[in-house]
């Protein structure tokens, strides 16, 4: 999914070597103008049903549309579950 060199962190594997964003450790193609709200929308879930973090930092729901995502960025989407 990613190259082994640091400079390859934003790139996918394969001949086209396209830039990717890592969403819950899965590669997602990056495009110009991609923001966090679009990343959430791409998963087909209710935006209120997940919480988001970008590169380890929490991003409130209301700020997702104003949060650009760059190649190589790590996005984490969390959902509520039972817990101890």
């Amino acid at each position: 999914m990613t190259g082994s060199r640091p400079e390859d962190a934003g790139r996918g594997a394969g001949a086209l070597d396209l830039p990717v964003v890592h969403v819950n450790d899965e590669g997602m193609p990056w495009r110009e103008g991609l923001d966090l709200a679009a990343v959430v929308a791409s998963r087909g879930v209710d935006p209120r049903a997940v919480a988001t973090a970008l590169n380890g930092r929490f991003v409130p729901r209301g700020q997702r549309a104003d949060t650009p995502v760059a190649p190589g960025d790590q996005v984490v989407l969390l959902q509520p579950i039972v817990g101890g």
Partner: protein
Amino acid sequence: MTMTTKTPTAAPGAASIRQPWTVAGHVLPGRLLLGSAGYPSPEVLHEALVASGAGAVTVGLKRMAAAGGDNGFLRGVHEAASALGARLLPNTAGCRTADEAVALAHMAAELFDTRWVKLEVVGDEHTLQPDPWELLRAAERLVRDGFDVFPYCTDDLVTCRRLLDAGCEVLMPWGAPIGSGQGLLNPFALRTLRARLPEAVLVVDAGLGAPSHAAAAMELGFDAVLLNSAVAQARDPVAMARAFAHAVAAGRLAHEAGLMAPQAMAVPSTPVTGRPFLLGEGA
């Protein structure tokens, strides 16, 4: 998935064992705090929570699954908590650093609409014991961010003092490693915490396996207990939840009634004088 319409049966006199108490500005209906993980079905989870009379229910976060949803478990939690008047207490399970825990706490606050957080920052994968330094760093930051922080901590008195100094009103020292069911491994340390931190709200969290463990913690003067596996993994979780409810109530009542002091030797309880059947000299 539709919830069962079966009405959970309460033990006789269950209503009388409810012990409302106030913590972090909220009145909770009971001093048993219950985790929601590991139950065999959403229906059993719902019935166990109601039978427990829990004052708070812990929940968590995980990476979003492709299919989404949780097969109805969370709905059972919300319905039971609403029926009980219990609060949700999200945890930061799985975090190893203060940064991770702080981010997770904020995410939980947004999803569960609460500023309560059970702060877990683990330092060892086998014992799951807290990393006290990262725990303290996370607690300081989250208190500044306006959270009511319930730190899961060890029974170390100095660490507990630092957490109180950081602004935590509640401490949750372990009884034994999470999920181990071993009970109160170090009663001396727990007794010390109670004696040296009289104003703190103390909740024994982790490692309780039997209702007798919970009763013992309450008899020591702890304000509440939190457990999960002991109920979820019981053969009959609903009955076990009820048993823990009674044990917590009994332990609290005993503490308030004033336990007798243990004696090294026998002290006769029947007020006889001498030896009743020996006549004459020495009778």
